[in-house]
Assembly symmetry: C2
């Protein structure tokens, strides 16, 4: 049996060839994957039913079971997704910069895949398909570790992708399935082979990976998002945005956790917020001033840092914009924060000073999402400060290399002033 290191080495080796693969072959592979998903649908559903039956017997929680289920509608969705990915232009090989360093010495910065990506995801089998087709389109090899509850589904899906892509001419070995928990821990040490880890799971798990691997991680350990109601906020926008941000999908990372209210509008807005959230069964805790106005339980220090992932929210009265910004930078997780204000100047200050991936004016925090942002596909949401931040699309799986085309030049010629650099921007597509 292949060890995890063998698998990573095989993926690395395939990644070099995959990086140079032409667009037509990659797109043909995506089409073939879509076709095979359709033609082998019954096998997939049978495997998935076995996974579901086993999980039910093991009394797995209902929401997990729901995410695990993979039948006609979800399969049709991933087939659609794969075909729309096929129709996107190839993100690899795009000239990002071109400079004439001197006559006959031309520099190009050209997009290329990162190399080998390690994806760790939980129960949803659609995540396996989504992420591996994104990797294929962007020329990255991938090590996939799914939840054990979806073992049989993942195995047949990986097998379909592997076989179809091979048949289309994609270099073998680019997709590797990792199955045991021990393998995952071993993955974290393979910093020679794996270039980027993308965990799509619980926050605790993401944090564990960040602390236990020297491989760069794309993801977010926390989603502590804020809404701040400034003194000039439009009262008609408050309740819809607060309710949507908290309750539209409570398990998401872009859900609001702390609501900050300017003291001059607190007595007007807090009772309306309380009534609207109570109707949705949202538990509320608050600061002293909030509790004095709407009589809810007091928030603990812990509350202001907590991502509830539940129908619960913490509410605080603040003296104004400065306090709100300082509070968000101190307690937020740099994910998504929204201000309700009718003043462009106030919104501008908020957006400049709040150090978060997404800063919004007059809309729900729930918009923070790759599909809603129009990226077509989402790799994940990142709170990292380098590489990719916020909702990450296909370009999060890309980097670049420099191609320099000369005809015999040496640095000595320029050091001795025999030649001088022209450094002229070219706006030319790299010929190689």
């Amino acid at each position: 049996m292949m060890t995890i290191r063998d698998k990573a080495k095989a993926a690395k080796s395939a990644s070099f060839k995959l990086a140079a693969l032409d667009s037509a072959t990659k797109d043909a592979a995506l089409e073939l994957i879509a076709l095979r998903l359709e033609s082998r649908k019954d096998e997939i559903i049978a495997a998935n039913r076995e996974d579901c039956a086993r999980s039910e017997k093991e009394q797995i929680a209902a929401p997990i079971l729901k995410r695990l289920t993979f039948e006609d509608a979800k399969i049709a969705d991933v087939v659609d997704g794969t075909r729309s990915l096929k129709n996107l232009s190839d993100p690899v090989g795009v000239t990002l910069l071109s400079t004439e360093l001197d006559k006959g010495l031309d520099l190009y910065r050209v997009s290329c895949p990162i190399g080998v990506v390690g994806i760790i995801f939980e129960s949803r089998p659609d995540a396996l398909l989504q992420i591996s087709t994104l990797c294929l389109k962007s020329g990255n090899a991938v090590l996939l570790k799914g939840g054990s509850e979806a073992a049989l589904t993942n195995r047949i899906l990986a097998e379909i992708i592997d076989a179809a892509s091979k048949e289309a001419g994609v270099p073998e070995g680019w997709i590797q399935l990792v199955e045991t928990r021990a393998d995952v821990n071993e993955m974290f040490a393979l910093n020679e082979e794996i270039d980027l880890l993308i965990p799509r799971g619980s926050n605790a798990f993401v944090k564990y990976i960040m602390d236990n691997s020297s491989i760069p991680v794309l993801g977010h350990a926390d989603g502590v998002c804020h809404i701040y109601l400034h003194d000039d906020c439009d009262t008609d926008k408050v309740v819809p945005i607060v309710v949507d941000s908290k309750t539209q999908y409570v398990a998401a990372c872009n859900t609001v956790e702390n609501i900050l209210v300017h003291e001059s509008v607190a007595s007007r807005e807090l009772p309306r917020i309380k009534a609207a959230l109570a109707e949705k069964n949202v538990e509320m805790v608050g600061c002293k001033k909030t509790c004095a106005i709407i009589n809810i339980p007091a928030a603990t220090t812990e509350d202001w840092h907590t991502e509830y992932v539940d129908y619960k929210v913490a509410i605080k009265v603040v003296s104004g914009l400065d306090e709100a910004i300082a509070f968000i930078n101190e307690h937020g997780s740099g994910h998504t924060d929204s201000i309700l204000t009718e003043s462009a100047t106030t919104a501008k200050t908020f957006m400049a000073l709040v150090d978060s991936a997404c800063v919004f004016q007059n809309c729900s925090t729930r918009f923070s999402d790759g599909f809603r942002f129009g990226f077509g596909a989402e790799v994940g949401i990142s709170t990292s400060k380098i590489h990719a931040r916020g909702p990450v699309g296909l370009d999060g799986l890309l980097i670049y290399k420099y191609k320099l085309i000369g005809n015999g030049q040496t640095v000595s010629q320029y050091a001795s002033k025999e030649k001088t650099y022209t450094h002229k921007p070219m706006n030319t597509v790299c010929p190689l």
Copy 2:
């Protein structure tokens, strides 16, 4: 006295304000720094002479002493550098993407600083100035740790930058000097406060940091660069490029370490290479076939992985392009590799399949450098596969945030199909 954590916290706090600072204030601060460097030149030179005298007494190696020396010419250089940085347009606040998600719901991706950067550099005081002015221009706060041999020089330089920038209106605390080795180790643990580490020192040190900190590192642990002579290489280009790549500046990371020669041109090129390198006192080791042709000592397995940082090179005869590419991907460090070939097709294959930051055709590996690439200023050279790769200019110190400007929208309105996304590219500068 401030602990390193206090300093990092102060820098973090300043970084929020610095991110929002207007271009005029940053540029005024750069001008004032340049002026103060000129007006306090005598103090700087006096401090530096004390550093040099102490280092001489401690019998520090001559090349280090040379790098440590900081007098008129070098001061004039950094003053020029600071002024040319001032004249660059502000890299912060640039709209990178704009999309109408729906009428009245506009998304912008806008460039912003990374936050707090930790720089660790060795004896060169000019590095302190270069990097801290780059950070100021890009709106990043910075923790600086220089070599202890330059302690007095670094102290006065940091004091000048701090005072001049404060006088110009830059938020206090953005530049922090870290002085002891114990502090550096503490720095590595501050992943809440420090967003990026940039070590500019020995490879062993960079590797140590990469292994001992969960903070992302921009840099390169090794520079094992290659030149491959293909069978159709132009013989007139061989010796100048090989000699330049090896000897133009032997201590640089972009110096060639392994030369690969196609077997069909080995007997023609190897004797000429040997003669030219021998004249420059370069020690040569080779594979069996090489030794049979030019009678040099045999290379050990270790040699093919070694960055000599010295007048030494390893030479290998290969069967062709495929072997050369495989060898480079196996033994190289992903830094810079150059092919000598007259065929565009061959060069294209080489550039696509060699997984390095810089892939060159018919020119010296020594061109791999931010100044030569026309970036104006160089933050460092990176062999990382994410964020920034190869020579890194000012944009390596930047990331982006998303600004979404709405007028009351909720996700529920789109989920219920009451509204639909337009996802229309806008090409508009963000108004906020």
